[in-house]
Symmetry: C2
Subunit: 342 residues, 2 copies
DNA sequence: ACTATCAGGTTAAACGTTTATATGAGTGTT
DNA sequence: AACACTCATATAAACGTTTAACCTGATAGT
């Protein structure tokens, strides 16, 4: 065992007694190679433990089966699940996924994007962290297949987008609590400026206004602890609503935490509609009613858009809008107002 | 806008009126370049939107700031959180992370490992999906810095490992429920054959046996729905224990789901100690007592081991064992047996 | 029997970097 | 004025792969 230099196609060629071109052809199958030689090459590769150097390969061909995926955070279950699904789809198509997280910070997002692009991936799926599309990305969009997901701040983007019908989702959630007689409704938003959140809020507000009710809004941020503290303070200061609608899974958790800390019983004291749908929401004495984002459909749609573009399609950009249906469970009770008058 | 070929260092050199070597030096700083030229190069790069081709760079140098991370699944919060932490640490050190998931399938694991290794990363952090180390990995371990985390089936591996003291964690959980007077204890295991799970079970069993109690075990697998169904069936068939100790976050969720479905009140009817510690565990009327795995410490340890190895250390392999302390909250009640005799 | 085709193989060039080596222009020193 | 020395820049080779172009027999068609 000498200097331990990596095994290249050259070593395999020597071991199999053929030229390197033949080895390459034997692997890729682009040119006919006799079965006997293929066997020798494969055997040589196996005994030597040969691994193709992807960098060299991609340098030569200019293409590589890699797609970049950029999300705000893997600590948020929604994005982790999304990436997980994308990864499975990618694997099925023989692609490798390069994951980067922006941490909801525009500067980091730009830096991560640069790093990602350095790999010259064949495509990119991104959940921007703000409404603004980073410059690097905007420039790249014309040349590189890009699919934007979830946080889309602008209309008429020149790339495919996959979003959820946030307005409808908000409306449905609001209608549900309104039907149960609630009139004092609080919206537990994460960051109201974010487009999807703004849409959800608008959906809720529209439905409420149609029923002559004015909902209130509190911003809880993107951290559970912090959000619980803020909501706790709000409740102590402003008094309890009869129903809360949370607009993200993080605010749902923050709300539940605040309820637990303040000894608020759900749904007896306050009702709640959560957002997103995870196992922990049903693993409770009172299973949560929640707006279910169709994560695997989102992943599926984004992936097939990307594959179509990588396949060379130059069709006009499509905008896929998916439904986020309300899962009615037991966390929304009939309002006391209704019960009393009954 | 002609044929849209990517911008290379050559274009930058032409634009700045210098040679490509100077451009390279201007970026890397390995050789002195006059400030004026550096400025011109940077400006040229900016106006052209130049992005270094990492593949070419890595081909030439043989090194690249990338580490592979292989975990069983990103859908499991534990691994998602681990990857998230590793990603942050990597970014701080200027490394990119290549994520792959094995889906708890040995064949997929081997395939993903091959794909990962094709990038010739400078290191690898892996959570093997079974007790057995894949051959590819075993062969690579001598040349490539590797850190194994969590699922370690063998002792005396030639690489650094980071694990949790699972035996102690199990013991502590068991002692807690024993102290509260419980004698009918059920272990909700995921897959008893997995080394960390086996250790946890052994820890629980040892503590129980010392108290003259024989715990029972039920295997629930790695899926929440499935696990809840299995536990439901077990409970219906065998009757209720007074306390359940879950050995993973998934089995914790499965147990809670089964409790909710069967209308079992916790802790009045049955007590529970969960595993791992997430926001949803405290966002409840009865916050869960659970064994808290120190995820960020695990990530931190694994990362610094890897960096040391990449730095060239040839010290003997270290084995880092971290504590997983029990978080005592309200899901373990005093057993009825004790209450009655009091 | 001569040519066209084809299968199976080789040679060499190219991809975009980095870097060892060469070059050349200043700047002191003698 | 000749020399050594430094500093900034240029030239060219190398990394491991793919692939166009070329070569050699063998087979088939006329």
């Amino acid at each position: 065992m000498s200097v331990m230099t990596a095994i290249t196609i050259k070593d395999v060629a020597a071991e199999a007694g053929v030229s390197i071109a033949t080895v390459s052809n034997a692997f890729s199958g682009r040119k006919a190679v006799s079965p006997e030689v293929v066997r020798r090459v494969e055997e040589a590769a196996r005994t030597l433990g040969y691994q193709k150097n992807i960098a060299a390969s991609q340098l030569r061909t200019g293409r590589v089966k890699v797609v970049g995926v950029l999300v705000p955070s893997l600590a948020d279950t929604f994005f982790a699940a999304l990436v997980s699904d994308l990864e499975k789809l990618a694997e099925a198509d023989g692609y490798q996924v390069l994951v980067a997280t922006s941490g909801d910070d525009a500067a980091r997002e730009a830096a991560q994007l640069d790093a990602l692009l350095g790999w010259k991936p064949s495509g990119l799926i991104a959940v921007p962290c703000t409404n603004a599309i980073p410059d690097t990305l905007r420039r790249e969009m014309v040349a590189l297949p890009v699919v934007l997901v979830d946080r889309i701040g602008e209309e008429d983007l020149p790339v495919d987008t996959v979003v959820v019908d946030n307005h409808a989702a908000g409306r449905e959630a609001a209608q549900h609590v309104l039907e149960k007689g609630h009139r004092e409704i609080l919206i537990a938003a994460s960051v109201a400026g974010l487009r999807p959140i703004a849409e959800r809020i608008r959906g809720i507000t529209d439905a409420c206004l149609a029923a002559g009710v004015a909902p209130r809004i509190v911003e809880l941020g993107t951290d559970v602890e912090e959000g619980a503290a803020r909501l706790g303070a709000f409740l102590a200061r402003e008094g309890h609503p009869t129903a809360v609608i949370a607009t993200t899974n993080v605010t749902t958790l923050a709300t539940l935490t605040a309820f637990a800390q303040a000894g608020i019983d759900m749904p007896a004291d306050v009702s709640l509609v959560g957002f997103d749908d995870y196992a922990w929401m049903t693993a409770r004495r009172v299973p949560l009613s929640a707006v279910r984002q169709p994560i695997s459909d989102i992943a599926q749609s984004a992936w097939s858009c990307l594959m179509t573009r990588i396949g060379g399609s130059a069709d006009a950009a499509v905008r896929i809008v998916l439904d986020a249906p309300l899962q009615r469970r037991n966390s929304v009770g009939v309002s006391r107002r209704v019960l009393d008058t009954a």
